[in-house]
Amino acid sequence: MPRAWLNTGTYRGVALLLFLLLVFPLVILSLLIEVLIFGIFAMSLDLLMGYTGPVSFGHAAFFGLGAYLVGFISKNYSSNLLITLPLVLASVTAVAWLVGFFALRTSGIYFLMITLAFAQMLFGLAIKWTPVTGGSDGLAGVPRPMIGLGDLAWSFGTNFRFYYLVLVAFLLSWWLLQRLVSSPFGHTLRGIKENEERMAALGYDTRRFKTTAFILAGVFAGLAGVLFSHFNFHVGPEVLYWTMSGQVLIMVIIGGAGTLTGPVLGAALVRLLPSYVSSYTDRWQTIMGLVFMAFVLFAREGIISLWRKRDRMTG
């Protein structure tokens, strides 16, 4: 059964991850936090491009939207996650629904351009709407979040505590997405990616399913943005810029689209490599480019495929 090697691959990924999660925090906590946040972000894009098909070049829109909204609310009103999360994720849902409604009428390169245009529009808004967004300086002094209910309150003020919040958010996202992609709904998405025309012939309202996937992808990206904003104590327009959309796209491609573990490994590589390489040379972007080219040329299915090939050979 093909499921068997898929499972061993997945579990090996999980084992490696848990190992890293246990050991890494002692080494460089802040880097690990960043990897986990971008892991959520990359998985969210992969739900759309790896499982459903449409390739978005504007996924930073939802990441940035989450980051700005939570930045604004926690600076001015409250950093209580019980208040901010529902508000932010509901807003992201509404915006994603609206964008998806229009963008998913197109496909291929047109979809790519529309999503890019929408993200750049938000970027422009973030730069110009200074009273709310702080303009090109962004919003500084975003506090770390807390969870409070009446007299019971728990703050995530220290890096160590915040790390565990991010870890829980990551594991919960991974688990939810894992359930989602193996459910009938997830299989419907795979069918659409494989052959949308035939899905329609079978009675599937493919656009409705694609819209749902687009919204879910937006919501998880928004969650990642929320964490990113709290992590940096700051949110600036770069979270909405097209390079951010490009970066998450590269994470998914390098890691392996159509798997959940792959994009997380991609996120780790893309975020960790610069900090290692830059201690030897300034030209880390050149190295990054070469790595990307190597994957596109020699391991088109990403880091995860290196695993799977070995699985296939041994079993």
């Binding site: 359930r179 009938p184 299989h187 899905m199 012939a201 079978l202």
Partner: protein
């Protein structure tokens, strides 16, 4: 005689080309209707019109008296109109089993279920297994559809359409490109389909058409030039002219 599918005087042109030029059809429930005609007669275009892939330029399509003209394919599929494609149109990267299960799970109403693994829906999985058994595809069930032989892919093409439990099934050259043995197998499969299922079959293989159809419609340059029982069609002078003239 009651009618399950009525096509009323439909037209469809592509630019200046009249692909379907005022065709009317009336199909009874459970009928096996053969549709024949030389290449370019408009047979596949007619299927595309009936199953919603193309809107007609003019005319109406009625399903049990309900006007369904211009509905998108997924709506027609939900109303029980299934089709196969002339060129295999499968989920090549998914397994044979997954291909069929996707076709079944929609009708089973579970396609929206987001958190329960699909393998936990035992009834749907059993149904998919039974269907693959029936179509002789049980052995390669766990292989990707891409790895099947052409003839097996052709069978899967029909199996997917049948899996939606349609009331009307449009088969677009089901035996095209098959070996004689595979053709015989396909003819047997189609012959065993439930008697209340209405079939429209486009075929070039005359032996196949005459062994399966109760009635035959002959198209030529987008028009119906003859319609009747197989014996009548065999004896029809115009039909003979069209086929001989073509060769």
């Amino acid at each position: 005689m009651s009618t399950i599918l009525a096509v009323e005087n439909i037209f469809r042109n592509f630019g200046g080309l009249m692909a379907v030029n005022g065709v009317s059809l009336s199909v009874a429930p459970g009928e096996r209707r053969g549709i024949i005609g030389p290449n370019g007669a408009g047979k596949t275009t007619l299927f595309n019109l009936i199953s919603g892939w193309l809107p007609p330029s003019q005319g109406r399509i009625l399903l049990e008296g309900e006007d369904v003209t211009g509905l998108p394919p997924f709506r027609l599929a939900r109303k029980g109109v299934a089709r196969t494609f002339q060129r295999n149109n499968l989920f090549l990267g998914l397994t044979v089993f997954e291909n069929v299960r996707l076709a079944i799970q929609h009708g089973a109403g579970i396609s929206n279920r987001p958190l329960t693994p699909v393998r936990a829906f035992h009834e749907v999985n059993r149904e998919a297994e039974a269907l693959l058994q029936r179509f002789g595809l049980a052995d390669p069930a766990t292989r990707p559809a891409r790895s099947l032989s052409y003839g097996e892919q052709r069978q899967l093409e029909v199996a997917i359409a049948v899996a939606t439990q349609p009331r009307i099934l449009l088969l677009d050259e089901p035996t095209a490109g098959m070996s004689p043995a595979e053709t015989a197998q396909m003819v047997a499969l189609i012959g065993q389909m439930p008697p209340n299922l209405t079939l429209l079959i486009i075929e070039h293989d005359m032996d196949v058409v005459f062994s399966l159809a109760d009635r035959i419609t002959v198209l030529h340059y987008g028009e119906v030039i003859a319609e009747g029982a197989p014996e009548e069609i065999k004896g029809d002078v115009r039909v003979q002219e069209v086929y001989l003239g073509e060769g």
